[in-house]
C-alpha cells in the first residue's frame, strides 16, 4: 500500500498558519522517509501548527510514529503544536499502546481542534 500525502494551509481549520497534512494509505518503514522529506519542506516555512488528518490512513508502524515524533519536537522548538485528527480505531490503538507522544494533541475532527485553539487563545487574551 502506498502513501498519499496532501499538504494544505488553513484547509478545514480556521486557524492561520496551520498546515493540514492529509495522509492516506500506509505510513510504514518504506513510506515514512517520503513523509519526512515532505515535512522538512513544510517545517522550513512559517508554520504555527500541524494537523495530521488520518481519516484515510489504514496502517501505521513505529517508523511512521518516529517521523511524527520528530516533527512534533521540531515544531515545539518553533513554539508550534502538532495535532492528530480523524484517526481510524486501529490507528488510535497503536498510538494508545505506544503512549510515547506526550504533547501530541488528539482530536476527533477538525471542528474539535478549532474549538480547542479558539478556547486557548481566549484564555491567553484574558490572562494578558
Amino acid at each position: 500500500m502506498k502513501l498519499q500525502i496532501q499538504v494544505q494551509e488553513n484547509i478545514g481549520s480556521k486557524q492561520p498558519g496551520v498546515i493540514t497534512v492529509r495522509l492516506a494509505g500506509s505510513l510504514d518503514t518504506a513510506t515514512s522517509p517520503e513523509l519526512e522529506r515532505e515535512l522538512s519542506t513544510v517545517l522550513a516555512g512559517p508554520v504555527k501548527g500541524l494537523v495530521f488528518d488520518m481519516a484515510q490512513l489504514k496502517f501505521i508502524s513505529s517508523a511512521g510514529l518516529r517521523v511524527i515524533s520528530m516533527v512534533r519536537k521540531k515544531l515545539v522548538e518553533k513554539g508550534g503544536m502538532t495535532s492528530v485528527i480523524n484517526m481510524q480505531p486501529q490507528i488510535r490503538e497503536v498510538f494508545n499502546i505506544i503512549k510515547a507522544l506526550p504533547g501530541l494533541d488528539i482530536f476527533k475532527n477538525v471542528e474539535e481542534f478549532d474549538d480547542y485553539i479558539t478556547a486557548r487563545q481566549r484564555m491567553h487574551q484574558e490572562k494578558g
Binding site: M1, S26, D28, T29, A30, F59, S61, S62, A63, L65, R66, S69, K73, V76, Q90, V94, I97, I98, K99, A100, L101, P102, G103
Partner: protein, 134 residues
C-alpha cells in the same frame, strides 16, 4: 508460503502484503490481521535495519502458515545473534530529550499471542503466533 526477501524496506512491505492477502483469502478478521501485519513489519524492519544493516545483497526468509486455529509467522535471518524477546520494554513515556526506542517490540508483544526465539546454527529464528478465535 515461504518468501525470500532482500534487506530493503520495500521487501518488508512485500512480506506484509503477502500476509494481508493470506489473511483476506482465509477470512481472518480485520483486527487481528492488522495487528499481525504490524508485528511482521516491525520484526522484519529490525532484521533489515540491524541484523542485515540494509545490505541489499543480503536476504532473509519469512514463512507464513495459516490454520483454522492460528497464523504463524517465522522470520529467519543470518545476522548477529539477537533475541528480541529479551529486549527491554521502555515503559516510561518519551520525553523531549530522549529519542523514542522500543516501540516496535512493544507493538509486537501487544499484537501477538506468543513470540518464540531460537538461534539455529548461524540463524536467528523468530516465530510470531496469533491464535484465531474458534
Amino acid at each position: 508460503m515461504k518468501l525470500e526477501l532482500y534487506a530493503t524496506p520495500g521487501e518488508v512491505m512485500r512480506a506484509v502484503k503477502a500476509l494481508q492477502q493470506l489473511g483476506q483469502d482465509n477470512q481472518v478478521p480485520e483486527g487481528p490481521l492488522f495487528g499481525l501485519a504490524l508485528a511482521l513489519e516491525e520484526c522484519a524492519s529490525n532484521i533489515v535495519n540491524y541484523a542485515l544493516q540494509r545490505d541489499v545483497r543480503r536476504t532473509f526468509f519469512v514463512t507464513l502458515k495459516h490454520s483454522e486455529s492460528s497464523i504463524v509467522i517465522e522470520l529467519r535471518d543470518n545476522g548477529p545473534e539477537f533475541d528480541p524477546t529479551q529486549a527491554p520494554l521502555n515503559e516510561k513515556e518519551e520525553s523531549d530529550d530522549r529519542p523514542p526506542g522500543g516501540w516496535g517490540i512493544k507493538l509486537v508483544r501487544r499484537f501477538t499471542d506468543e513470540i518464540r526465539y531460537t538461534r539455529q546454527g548461524n540463524e536467528n529464528v523468530l516465530c510470531l503466533i496469533k491464535r484465531l478465535a474458534a
